[in-house]
């Protein structure tokens, strides 16, 4: 089970000498509001968010109407009295003279995670964006730190059936022209997977083979087959993509003065002179198509107690020290610059270890794409 936000805040609680909720529900409940009597009320106060249950019935509840032995909460799922009830609630001074609130600590954790992912850049995402004719400027995805690579869909995916019977009897391949269910994505020299993908048991069969398209018409293609096939045999290939060259509007100005009015399939992308999170493509797209964006990801802008962290588990101690640094630097009783400094240095250490590890195993995507040349821009 991956580390969730509450796990980090629980560790933070121990360092801050804050009590945590760790008990059972004590009372069986059905969906809706209920008054429960847990074996222990340690850490439970009016407004405390806690986690109850496990698996599919795991949920966050908020305590209200708290007494010395009971609290009220609204439940989404049914729970047994033995279901676990836990959470880092930061109860010191609650309410109203709190040292820390849970919302505040979750915000610290969000900031810590985004800072760590910005510095180490271990998380990359790939998404697709459809563009219309003439749509030249775009906004990068919300969670993107930086776009690392853009590619354009050159050929759509192939997903059809063969539409003809192929019979082979000897060791030589049979060259045949077939009329598949659809010609979408089938072009000369394309490599296609032809044949059954599985049998009834899910195991791969012998009829599957890769064939290279020799020629095409509007409704047919010709290829050489080594295996026999039925008309219903699937013909499959993924979409193919061409990467765009990373450039700048300044370079485009220098190399192709009238670049802004050029029309065609995008070959270059740039991020300058757009907006804070914008990017553009050259030339002005026509026809419409699809871009594929590879970007370093900074994770979500908010976290709940049960949310899995975007940072890999092994790096989560870094987040703990960053949260502790912010807690120790906060005005108030907990302010402790000595411990804050230690946490700062420890966080830096984890960042450095993370960066060096990423470089050590060459996992970081940090290189800019090819720079444009006169040839690539004017082609």
């Amino acid at each position: 089970m991956a580390i969730v936000a509450n796990d980090i805040l629980t560790q933070v609680s121990f360092h801050l000498v804050e009590k945590v909720v760790k008990t059972t529900l004590g009372t069986a409940v059905s969906p809706g509001p209920a008054v429960v009597t847990p074996p222990s009320m340690v850490g439970i106060y009016n407004g405390a968010m806690m986690i109850v249950g496990s698996g599919a019935t795991l949920e966050i509840i908020t305590a209200s109407s708290v007494t010395l032995a009971t609290f009220t909460a609204t439940f989404t799922y049914s729970h047994a009295g033995t279901d676990p009830l836990y959470g880092a609630t930061f109860p010191s001074g609650q309410p109203p003279m709190f040292l820390f609130t849970q919302t505040e600590m979750l915000n610290y954790l969000v900031n810590a995670q985004q800072d760590f992912l910005l510095k180490v850049r271990l998380l990359y995402s790939i998404s697709q964006v459809d563009y219309a004719v003439g749509e030249q400027y775009f906004t990068q995805p919300n969670s993107a730190i930086r776009i690392e690579r853009i590619a354009r869909k050159a050929q759509p995916a192939v997903n059809t059936t063969l539409g003809a019977t192929i019979t082979t009897g000897g060791i030589l391949p049979v060259t045949a022209t077939v009329t598949p269910g659809s010609m979408l994505g089938i072009v000369p020299n394309a490599i296609l997977s032809v044949g059954d993908t599985s049998n009834a048991n899910g195991a791969y069969t012998e009829s599957r083979e890769l064939v290279e398209v020799i020629s095409t018409t509007l409704t047919t293609f010709t290829a050489s087959f080594l295996n026999s096939h039925a008309p219903s045999d699937p013909v499959v290939a993924s979409a193919t993509w061409i990467d765009l060259f990373n450039t700048s509007t300044a370079d485009l100005d220098m190399l192709q003065q009238n670049w802004a009015i050029d029309i065609g399939d995008p070959t270059n992308w740039f991020q300058d002179a757009t907006s804070a999170t914008g990017y553009g493509v050259y030339p002005n797209p026509a026809p419409a198509g699809t871009l594929e964006l590879w970007y370093s990801d900074r994770g979500p802008d908010s976290l709940a107690l049960t949310d899995t962290l975007s940072t890999l588990d092994i790096f989560t101690p870094a987040l703990k020290y960053k949260v502790l640094e912010m807690a120790f630097l906060k005005d108030g009783e907990q302010r402790d610059t000595q411990r804050a400094k230690f946490c700062t240095e420890n966080y830096k250490y984890w960042v450095m270890a993370g960066v060096k590890f990423m470089r050590g195993v060459a996992a970081m995507i940090e290189e800019a794409s090819q720079r444009p040349t006169m040839q690539t821009v004017t082609q």
Binding site: R149, I314, T316, D336, Y349, M358
Partner: protein, 223 residues
């Protein structure tokens, strides 16, 4: 050796009772700190390394693959035959239009951060690979039982104890906390010494400047 073997030693360092600790919670507080020390050691030393015992099935018709369970970073892949490591940028340069290309077996692999990796070309069937990787020392969770294995050589063990004890003292503050930093320094020194073995193992090695330094081909640095 398991985590609970180290847990009692951490309690000793903190002058706590092994049977009824008062100020620190063994399971919820100290075990996670021992795991934290092991995680730090993995990042610094590139250990433990593992050659996958079970074959990894590639997702058919896809360049992008998820990391094997428990793997932190892939070191090498065997196909059939050696699958060479490359980068997405090299593929862009030398194999334009490589994304989506189908083939009968994969020839190259490339990392995509630490959460995914990619292969070229795509293969239409679930091809089996043998993957060598740096593994997460312990599957992290909200609760440790103490029976989790410590997958490092014995020389690391007391370093983990010292590191966990130093971090545990953070909540004490003051002089006790400051003195704990000295123990943490012992942990770093120990890793520096143990990292020297990395010169023979190749891909990752520890420096006193913190963290692994490595090359894809390590041979030139062995001499």
């Amino acid at each position: 050796m398991v985590i609970s073997d180290l847990g009692v030693q951490v309690l000793d360092r903190l002058e706590e009772s092994r049977t009824a600790p008062q100020f620190w919670d063994l399971q919820d507080e100290l075990y996670p700190l021992i795991v934290e020390a092991m995680n730090a050691a993995t990042l610094m030393s590139g250990e433990p390394q593992m050659r996958s015992l079970s074959n990894y099935n590639l997702t058919p018709n896809s360049n992008v693959q998820s990391m094997p369970s428990g793997a932190l970073a892939i070191l090498r892949i065997d196909g059939p035959g050696t699958v060479l490591k490359t980068s997405v940028y090299d593929l862009d340069r030398f194999q334009p239009g490589w994304e989506g290309v189908l083939g009968s077996k994969i020839e190259y692999w490339y990392p995509i951060g630490l959460t995914q990796f990619g292969v070229y070309p795509q293969v239409p069937t679930a091809q089996r690979l043998v993957i060598s990787y740096i593994m997460l020392p312990v599957t992290m969770s909200s609760t440790y039982t103490g029976s989790e294995n410590v997958p490092f050589q014995a020389e690391y063990s007391f370093g983990f104890v010292e590191c966990a004890a130093a971090m545990a003292r953070l909540k004490e503050g003051g002089q006790e906390f400051m003195q704990g930093i000295q123990e943490y320094d012992h942990f770093i020194d120990k890793l520096a010494q143990l990292g020297k073995f990395g010169w023979r193992k190749g891909a990752c090695r520890f420096t006193r400047a913190l963290g692994v330094e490595s090359d894809i081909t390590s041979v030139t640095k062995r001499g």
